[in-house]
């Protein structure tokens, strides 16, 4: 129910924002900035670039605010625009994934099913070894809590495809944790 309340809050903020309320924009920024930056990090693997892209994403969100229709969920709309910003960045700059710095990224809660795999640092480090498609679904579904239908709407794939990708990515991630030394992970966590 928490998710539903959060979503309703976002819908209300978005509707006020469309009506010209600057406070609503600030509210949206405060709620969405951290998860958005985490998501964008999966594309660029650089904290500073992810932060820059998050600002650019918010600018694009502002330009595209008329395309949001209440009461549809806000987050798939926001992530789709952000994904577009990240892909345009990668395409135009042909940037390489520069570094694996994630420590300075804003904290987002790690759900229990991911927490069981390893601590947040291990999960994020090993996620970087997964293919981009796998990383995206893991981030969107397992870490940011979007449904497979919403993930499919963002990526332009069927919900079933998103589910299969997430399953494969999670399996690979678990294998990577085992290969990297599950005992170390366990020690870190205790």
């Amino acid at each position: 129910m928490v998710r539903k309340d959060d979503e309703q809050k976002l819908v209300d903020l978005m509707t006020s924002y469309q009506q010209g309320d600057a406070e609503a924009f600030t509210g949206l920024y405060q709620v969405l900035k951290a998860p958005l930056q985490r998501y964008l990090w999966t594309f660029v693997r650089n904290t500073t670039t992810a932060e820059d892209l998050a600002q650019e994403a918010f600018l694009q969100i502002h330009r595209a605010r008329h395309t949001y229709t209440s009461p549809r969920p806000v987050r798939p709309w926001v992530y789709a625009i952000s994904r577009h910003v990240a892909l345009m960045h990668l395409r135009s700059k042909r940037r390489r994934k520069e570094s694996l710095a994630f420590e300075e990224l804003p904290e987002i809660p790690v759900p229990p099913e991911m927490d069981r795999i390893g601590d947040a640092a291990t999960v994020f480090t090993l996620m970087a070894k997964l293919p981009q498609a796998g990383q995206e679904v893991l981030m969107l579904h397992h870490l940011l809590g979007l449904s497979f239908q919403e993930v499919g709407d963002i990526l332009g794939v069927a919900p079933g495809t998103a589910k299969v990708r997430a399953h494969r990515a999670l399996k690979t991630l678990k294998e990577l944790v085992t290969d990297e030394g599950g005992s170390d992970v366990g020690a870190n966590r205790s």
Binding site: Q18, Y29, A34, L59, H62, H66, T67, T69, A80, R83
Partner: protein
């Protein structure tokens, strides 16, 4: 953890342009706008230029009936194009190509059944170019309004929205030429009428791609 503050530069950019906006109309209503243009073209073409010479030899279900179904297929493709133009409502790649392929297969099947009922007039293969031109010209108004509706939104895959919009407009125009072109030879249908659908789809995809590149410059 304290709530992040909006950077001054971003806040200024947003507050400088914070007029209230009217949310985009729902996809079905925007599809109806595109279809209204298409219906106008349909009426003008059919009632202005007349029907194929062998229309009496074709049963009503095959003539008007199949044309109406093709128009519905066009509505579906236009609807998908307009849905694709909204962030977070991307059409799965498989569904888009399934809809496009099904429309083309339907067009060919109708062409084949029509040919069985009435082979129609003979026409040298090369003369079919006028059919392709006519298909394209009839598709243009629908394509232009659809493309305008697409770019007014925020397509994250503009090429895909353009492709579906082009295909929808071409299928709608084929619904008209099915009632007007007296040549049912399969070579003619495949080369010139299906060719027109493929040409318009490719044009839509290219226009979308070019627009997407221009926007992100």
């Amino acid at each position: 953890m304290s709530a992040p503050t909006v950077p001054e530069e971003l806040l200024k950019a947003v507050t400088d342009d914070l007029q209230p906006v009217t949310p985009l109309a729902p996809v079905w209503r925007r599809t109806l706008w595109a279809l209204a243009v298409s219906a106008l073209v349909f009426a003008t073409a059919v009632f202005g230029f007349g029907l194929r010479s062998d229309i009496q030899s074709i049963p009503t279900w095959l003539g008007w009936g199949c044309s109406a179904i093709e128009f519905l297929a066009a509505a579906l493709l236009l609807g998908l194009a307009l849905r694709e133009s909204i962030p977070g409502r991307s059409v799965p790649l498989g569904s888009a190509f399934a809809a496009l392929s099904a429309s083309i297969i339907y067009q060919l099947a109708v062409g084949y059944i029509t040919w069985r009922f009435s082979p129609g007039e003979f026409q040298a293969f090369g003369q079919g170019m006028s059919c392709m031109m006519s298909d394209t010209m009839l598709a243009l108004p629908t394509f232009l309004i659809t493309f305008w509706l697409i770019v007014r939104a925020f397509p994250t895959r503009a090429w895909m929205a353009g492709l579906l919009g082009g295909a929808g407009a071409a299928i709608a125009s084929d619904a008209i030429t099915h009632l007007q072109c007296p040549v049912s030879d399969m070579r003619h249908v495949l080369a010139w009428h299906t060719g027109a659908v493929i040409l318009m789809s490719a044009t839509g995809a290219l226009a979308g791609y070019a627009w997407g590149r221009w926007r992100t410059k």
